[in-house]
């Protein structure tokens, strides 16, 4: 497959392209979806494709080539199309290699795993033991292998594999909880613990009461705090800033969060999305994005970096830079200590459907789901339902008052798009609204 990637790049250069990148990917992932406490379908993929990026006279064309036996024809077609396209004056090339990459290898026990039923059963069992009646979710074994070549001398191979389980446990339609298990090593994979957490929250959320709108101090569970930090990571892409899709424009060096928040992106660290290199072949690394509340950098590829007069952060995607994995530096208090600080507030455990009224201002709302709890003096006094967080991303980040001392890896359908390592977060003055009728 290295040969295929190199052949694509060589062909593109021979046809007059100034830059070319080919990332040949073999996907061998496997999944079990479950609902009503048992598997509803099992899925297996055997796919290979080449993500190709060619630039001819600053005219940028990207593609996925599926038929790897006919790459020459595919590249010829792309170059022909590129010649009829238009130049992008902002295009500034791809990073110059060659590069040296970290020697990471997937866990052989993950690679040899071909049956996930027992992990589903462990998760469901964990939830039912806590009082749940119905569970649904997904078990994933992710496995893909990348062979990358660029016209600037980068050549890389990266075999990635990890395990993931997401479980929602329900006592009833309005009493539910969610748990997540992520691991790159089989020995660290804890589906039963995820099920227990989901079941425990569901049981605690029995007979929820209608909520009262207002402004509250809110304790965000890692899953929902991860949804917020995922928003931060995504909006820190320089591409989003340039497209008017970010509240972080013109805020480098300025305060964007409370001093409690230090946040970095790191594709090279152990996570279920660890990768050796970005789409230009640049080695992934740790990039400090927010230091004690001060914005330090956006996420860049070579072109956006030039536009912002800086260097690539190794976050290139095929076209736009994006986060690999977001890490929040934990605080210094235990989860229980933070709970005890809540005199009259809420504990939210999950959310979905985050939408913006304005990406530039950061005005948004998101709808908590699963357990929603009213807390007094550190104790859950009752479960609530049917609320919406109606606030502003910057306001929420600036009002972080405490973070717990342990971060958990979160990733979840739609809301947490890349791994986010997040602790519990206590945020003051959070806007909560409800349906008026």
């Amino acid at each position: 497959m290295e040969d295929v990637a190199s052949r694509i790049v060589d062909k593109a250069i021979a046809l007059g392209c100034q830059d070319a990148v080919a990332d040949v990917v073999e996907n061998r992932s496997y999944q079990i979806r479950f609902a009503r406490n048992e598997a509803v379908i099992s899925n297996q993929w055997r796919e290979s494709n080449a993500s190709v990026f060619v630039v001819h006279g600053k005219r940028v064309v990207a593609s996925d080539v599926r038929d790897l036996s006919k790459t020459d024809e595919a590249v010829e077609r792309l170059v022909k199309i590129a010649k009829t396209s238009q130049a992008n004056p902002d295009y500034a090339g791809i990073a110059k290699g060659p590069f040296r990459y970290a020697r990471t290898r997937p866990d052989p026990k993950v690679l040899s795993l071909h049956e996930g039923g027992k992990y589903v059963e462990a998760a469901v069992g964990g939830a039912l033991d806590q009082g749940a009646k119905e569970c649904a979710g997904s078990f994933w074994k992710y496995e893909d292998e990348h062979f990358l070549a660029t016209s600037n001398g980068a050549e890389g191979h990266d075999h990635r594999a990890s395990l993931y389980l997401s479980i929602r446990a329900l006592v009833s339609l309005e009493s539910s909880g969610h748990g997540i298990a992520c691991a790159s090593k089989l020995s660290q994979f804890q589906p039963e613990k995820a099920g227990q957490k989901a079941g425990r929250i569901a049981a605690l959320a029995r007979t929820p009461k209608p909520a009262k709108a207002g402004r509250y101090t809110v304790l965000f569970d890692p899953l929902i705090f991860g949804s917020l930090t995922d928003q931060v990571g995504g909006r820190l892409s320089a591409w989003a800033v340039l497209a008017g899709l970010s509240p972080f424009g013109k805020k480098i060096g300025k305060r964007v969060a409370s001093s409690q928040l230090t946040l970095y992106d790191d594709g090279s660290a152990d996570s279920i999305a660890r990768k050796r290199f970005d789409a230009e072949g640049v080695p992934t690394r740790r990039n400090l994005l927010v230091n004690k509340g001060i914005l330090k950098t956006y996420l860049h590829n070579t072109s956006t970096a030039k536009k912002f007069k800086t260097k690539t952060t190794g976050n290139a995607g095929l076209v736009a830079p994006d986060s690999h994995a977001v890490f929040v530096k934990p605080g210094d208090r235990s989860r229980d200590e933070i709970f005890s600080e809540v005199k009259d507030g809420l504990w939210l455990t999950n959310t979905w459907y985050t939408r913006y009224q304005s990406y530039v201002t950061g005005d948004l709302s998101t709808i908590p789901r699963d357990g929603i709890f009213h807390i007094r003096n550190g104790d859950v006094v009752e479960a609530w339902k049917d609320i919406r967080v109606t606030d502003n991303l910057l306001h929420l980040m600036k009002n972080i008052v405490a973070l717990s001392d342990e971060a958990e890896q979160m990733m979840w359908w739609g809301e947490v798009s890349v791994p986010n390592f997040v602790p519990y977060a206590l945020i003051k003055d959070v806007g909560i609204t409800t349906s008026n009728q």
Partner: protein
């Protein structure tokens, strides 16, 4: 006979010979092309040539699905083995069954007056650059412009072990745009989405330049003349875009039978409508909401679904009551009924699941002027920006983008950030008049794991709601 259909037949035969009680195979070839014009600059052009085959089997009452883009008999044999093996490993206590449906032999395609494949990249870029030029001549600050033109040509070959054999071709065209208008410290943002099943001729049906220019003008007017939206109980006239999103979110999604039965519980959620909820009152007698894949040129047009079942119009809510769930063969069997052809997949490599197509409020007989003239005090919310709804599809929010105060039947000044935050029954029960002029917008509907963002459209005529709480 062609090679693709041969391969599909081979997959089904293989699966049956290896113990599947039911098998289906779906080959898809997609030729997507799209580009982004960002602030007047062509960011990148994406051109795809995607093809592969997916096989779904029912073995011992369990489902297995496997997919490959290796289009050889060896490649297909391997995924059939995979699908059988993982289905057998499921060890289900309750057996999945499919509702019995007629087998179909059919070949359908969407006509193109001007074939998408014959339109050059230059022509497509020039079309959008023309729109961008028009909007830049307005003379006020448009801080960010983002246009995405995309088209796709989808060819499918489907066969199942019950004798269905279907070939189809569906060309689709879509424009998405996103604008940011700034005036002083004020910012307005909008995004709109138009779709078409057919050829390049679709581009001229939207009046795109006029729509974008009108939208930008309204954004500027909101910033310069807009006042705080009134708060309290009043009448609301919701434009087609708002009626459309509400029909999609609070009528279409809660009537998806897989949600109702809990199959989507961990992802897109469940439904406030229980499995025995047909007949439940959710709105006034004027509210009829349909989902119809056979609306010509709508972006989610199709004549057979991805389980080989004929498409037809579905009445989700009729005269204010829940009348029909969206069904595939699995959910139909569980609920003791038949599929209504709502099973779709975004590509060859994912299972088909229950999906909406083109969902809309059925029009009646009022003009917009008639809806407005009878309002003493209220808001005309023509479009929205922010929206969301909970995962049981009961609590929805629509935040106005273009909205105006109505006083004594007259449209007055713009109002900013009008918030409609209501339950599904409160919203639909307040409807006391329905307009006659139907309009659609396109959208991507997200569901399933792995996520399937699928073409959908939504629409309606303007509708009037009486005495609802706005803020």
């Amino acid at each position: 006979m062609n090679a693709e259909m041969d391969l599909v037949d081979f997959a089904v035969d293989q699966a049956r010979s290896k113990g599947a009680t039911y098998a289906e195979a779906r080959y898809e070839k997609q030729d997507p092309e799209n580009f982004i014009l960002k602030n007047g600059v062509l960011d990148a052009l994406y051109v795809g040539h995607d093809q592969g085959i997916g096989v779904r089997v029912l073995v011992n009452g369990a489902l297995g699905f496997a997919a490959t883009n290796s289009l050889s008999k060896d490649g297909v044999r391997a995924i059939v083995d995979d699908a059988i093996k993982i289905a057998k490993a499921s060890r289900r206590k309750t057996k999945i069954t499919f509702a019995q449906e007629d087998s179909i032999a059919m070949n359908w395609s969407v006509p193109e007056s001007k074939k998408l494949a014959d339109v050059s990249v230059e022509e497509k870029i020039a079309e959008i650059q023309g729109v961008d030029r028009d909007v830049m001549q307005l003379g006020f600050k448009i801080a960010a412009r983002f246009f995405n033109l995309s088209d796709n040509r989808i060819r499918k070959f489907f066969a199942n072990s019950e004798g269905s054999r279907i070939e189809s071709y569906s060309p689709r065209l879509r424009v998405f745009y996103f604008l940011t208008v700034v005036e002083g410290a004020g910012v307005e943002q909008t995004s709109r989405n138009y779709g078409w099943s057919g050829g390049w001729e679709g581009i001229s049906t939207w009046g795109l330049s006029d729509r974008v220019v009108e939208e930008a003008r309204s954004m500027h007017r909101s910033l310069t003349e807009g006042k705080k939206s009134p708060e309290g109980k009043m009448d609301l006239v919701a434009g087609p875009q708002v009626a459309g999103i509400a029909s999609h979110e609070s009528c279409g999604h809660p009537t998806e039978a897989d949600r109702v039965l809990g199959r989507e519980a961990a992802q897109a959620g469940k439904s406030f409508i229980p499995p025995d909820g047909l007949g439940m009152r959710v709105g006034s007698e004027l509210v009829t909401v349909v989902d119809d894949p056979t609306v010509e040129h709508a972006i989610a047009y199709y004549l057979t679904d991805d389980e080989g079942v004929k498409a037809r119009r579905r009445y989700l809510y009729k005269e204010g009551r829940v009348t029909e769930f969206l069904q595939n063969r699995e959910t139909a069997a569980a609920l003791g009924t038949h599929s209504n052809g709502a099973s779709r997949a975004v590509n060859y490599n994912v299972e088909a699941i229950v999906r909406m197509a083109n969902t809309f409020v059925e029009p009646k007989d009022h003009t917009l002027e008639e809806l407005l003239e009878d309002v003493k005090f209220g808001v005309y919310m023509k479009s929205f920006m922010e929206w969301n709804i909970d995962d049981k599809r009961y609590n929805a929010k629509y935040a106005g983008r273009e909205a105006y105060l109505i006083e004594d039947g007259e449209v007055k000044h713009p109002v900013r950030n009008t918030i409609v935050e209501l339950t599904t029954p409160a919203f639909w029960s307040a409807v006391d008049a329905v307009g006659k002029d139907l309009d659609f917008e396109a959208g991507f509907c997200g569901k399933s794991d792995p996520g399937q963002a699928l073409d959908a459209s939504m629409g309606g005529p303007p509708i009037r709601l009486r005495n609802v709480h706005l803020r």
